[in-house]
Symmetry: C2
Subunit: 211 residues, 2 copies
Amino acid sequence: MPPRYARARNRMRARYDIETIHAILDHGLVAHVGFIIDDRPMVMPMAYARIGDEILLHGASKTRIARLDAVPVCITVTRLDGIVAARSGMHHSVNYRSAMIHGTARRVDGPELDTALDAITDNLLPGRSAEVRPMTAQERKATGVCAVAIEHASAKIRTGPPVDDEADHGLGMWGGVLPVTTALGQGVQDAHTPDGVAEPASFAAARRKFA
Amino acid sequence: MPPRYARARNRMRARYDIETIHAILDHGLVAHVGFIIDDRPMVMPMAYARIGDEILLHGASKTRIARLDAVPVCITVTRLDGIVAARSGMHHSVNYRSAMIHGTARRVDGPELDTALDAITDNLLPGRSAEVRPMTAQERKATGVCAVAIEHASAKIRTGPPVDDEADHGLGMWGGVLPVTTALGQGVQDAHTPDGVAEPASFAAARRKFA
């Protein structure tokens, strides 16, 4: 039996050390980015990357990312590890690791833009930026990226089995965890890929990252 | 070859029909919920369920969910389907389905609370609420749930291969999609499960939902 907290009421742990937070950020594919528009909250999924203590965000369009310039944002990256099946509805839970970053967004331009875009591509597919052709001046103009320096960060991590009421342990019921994983398959090539060209090496690197 | 948009510049589609939005909501496990605290955005992962045109949110604590009473929230549920590997860094993308809901949260109490909690449990594990013991009066008091009537909803869906520049099609490079799926494994039982008790039927139902 693995080590357990004898009296754990709740297996949720808040963490503030930067190594834990970086590890969660570096293992995600999509961030949920919160910001305020007309006094209302907005939450959008975005591709991202971490460079040091900054998060780079890729906007679907230059217009959209422009809205994020000089405004407070909250960036949350969540990885789901399991569904926790307890003996009562109340103690059902999920095992997950989630990092929440607060900071202020700024537009990225100039030479920094290439580094930022390469990092965002490589966060999806490690090493991919070295496999593709270089960016053109026109593409640089059309691309919107912003950077958010981490001003405040926290992580929430839940692991392990359900925490049932003592009285429910004798019910004779199954209790435990249904594991959830992110699975990356085999690449599906498009119509412009010549016969015999192998899937890029970055795909295997991505599968290793999530294995 | 599957049907393709001959001149698709962008394979991202905005959708507003309620069937598409409900389907995305009903296929998610965790929602990212945005709200405003002290003029700053916050984005938290939460277990949830949909009943009709309302989203039910489960707070980790009664205190936390109380902050959501009578405030505007944005609920985003995202399912990642693939990483789109183009021939240029710029045209890299992700295939995903994301629903974004805007509404105002209200506290759920009384008899409605049981229905809400059962729905949230069943969204994680279909049919699970009928497998566990009934909720006690004390548990009802300790549990925080809020409901958000859908005031505005939209979906973003990207599917299919990369949309490369015409000039890049002749590069002889591999282009296509690395599929991403959510995989549910076999249940891992805890120390209080008697020998010979089978994994609950709701686990198989959850695996079917994500197959």
